[in-house]
């Protein structure tokens, strides 16, 4: 009788330790996801600022300037639920403006243009990186949260269900080639 009781207590203890370990794992994943989201946010803001700077610098022709300014402005001001669309549109605008290698060369020869082109090239390379890292974290967190043990014991607490960030982040080829 006593031995059965001891076994039950031991089993319960083991389950408790396992659940607590899983909760720790989940907590760490949420921290990682928050950091990745902040990093993506920083890269997107950086990209939009450089684009806006270039658009207002007068280095580009007026039509390209307006297209780029519009897109960069919309991306910076967009509400959370429209952000994926606005950022995708900025990617498209950047691709349209910097489709031609000559346009990139034009920016580089302007005073301070070398620096601006380098910054933009860096930003358009880092956005896809940061987005992959975020979606990787989101995927891992989702897989764990969908598991029975997490749902049944509500280990995730009140944390919102993780959402991936989907957007068109294809960089303009002429700009990235230059950096390569």
């Amino acid at each position: 009788m006593t031995s059965t009781l001891i076994w039950i207590v031991l089993a319960l203890l083991a389950v408790g330790v396992y659940l607590s370990w899983t909760a720790g794992r989940l907590d760490r994943l949420h921290t990682r996801m928050d950091a990745a989201r902040a990093a993506l946010d920083a890269q997107l803001l950086r990209r939009a600022s450089v684009a806006q700077e270039l658009a207002t610098s007068g280095v580009l022709d007026p039509a390209a300037s307006i297209v780029l300014y519009e897109a960069a402005h919309a991306a910076r001001q967009s509400e959370e639920e429209h952000r994926e669309v606005a950022e995708s549109e900025l990617s498209q605008a950047l691709r349209a403006v910097f489709e031609d290698t000559r346009q990139v060369e034009g920016v580089r020869v302007a005073p301070g243009g070398e620096e601006a082109a380098r910054e933009l090239a860096e930003a358009v390379r880092r956005v896809p990186m940061a987005r992959r890292f975020l979606n990787d974290a989101v995927g891992a967190a989702r897989r764990l949260r969908e598991h029975r043990k997490v749902r049944w014991f509500r280990l995730a607490g009140h944390a919102p269900f993780p959402l991936a960030f989907e957007m068109d982040d294809e960089p303009p080829a002429a700009l990235v080639e230059r950096a390569a």
């Binding site: 909760a23 907590d27 950091a35 990093a39 390379r125 992959r132 891992a140 897989r143």
Partner: protein
Amino acid sequence: MRIGIVCPYSWDVPGGVQFHIRDLAAYFIRLGHEVSVLAPADDDTPLPPYVVSAGRAVPVPYNGSVARLNFGFLSAARVRRWLHDGAFDVVHIHEPTSPSLGLLTCWAAQGPIVATFHTSNPRSRAMIAAYAILQAALEKISARIAVSEYARRTLVEHLGGDAVVIPNGVDVDFFADAEPNPAWQGGTIGFIGRIDEPRKGLPVLMRALPTILAARPGARLLVAGRGDEEAAVAGLPAGLRSRVEFLGMVTDEDKARLLRSVDLYVAPNTGGESFGIILVEAMSAGAPVLASDLDAFAQVLDQGAAGELFANEDADALAEAAVRLLGDPERRAGLRERGALHVRRFDWSTVGADILSVYETVTAGTTAVATDERTGLRARLGLARD
């Protein structure tokens, strides 16, 4: 930036991953970053100042061959001490799925962790069994790098999630500026790799050799790499054996000179390659490349635009392509030119900057790497209750 790099394989044994880490560390040090590499090494091996020994690696049979790995209590303690002393901004683990230092570091660290997946091994049985343990450790990695699109695909299939593709780096100018050796010039075919490792494909090349030598009587084959030379030429007619020259293990300088000298570099590998650094090195040195059409090779050669491909393990196709190329100087000059342009994207200046971008992306807004202090059970239970 304070960068900690974890090498899973013995520092004193030459290998692709070790060279990659050595060059990466050198690149970061040149840029003024602080770098510390944790690697298995015998205690009496002389090490460069930036390498910290994690103790001797133990040879164990793993994944079809004998691997030298680090595990156990002592290694885990050394990993923890290295993390603690280093106070790194970012830790970069290579090959985190091999049961060695990489995995131990994953367990012991928290904070920004970057990991590079070099191999694209099909999922092994052991990995399926250890999946839950592995997953919990790999979840800590903030950024995954795959060395090729092929390696990324296998990674995504086996472990889920995603990774960015950053190729392995090569010091292009080191190869481009090497002095050709006249003794290795004039109708020469080059092969570099372990002679007794069938996956490197020397047997395929040996089967193709009689046809090549019949069509190009002046041709010679130069083989650099260790292994049993007698056994390698055993299948060849006795009269042709003198046309194969074995150079043994060569230094980096001689490797570059060899690649600068040969008229054709042949990579007949039959599998197990996830990248193909040797092809990039050959192209950097201006050698026209003929390689088997493995996924990874096709990608490095730009789907056949920067070098020719032949059907894997098909000795006749290899012989036909080699004969055609050796008789066509114009095509070879075209490949040289195309290759020289193509390899720029694999130069350390590009690859290193990309890896640094990854570091900067993951460190933005987070704290430095620390040892993972296990949360006390009571605190955890408190967490589980709310």
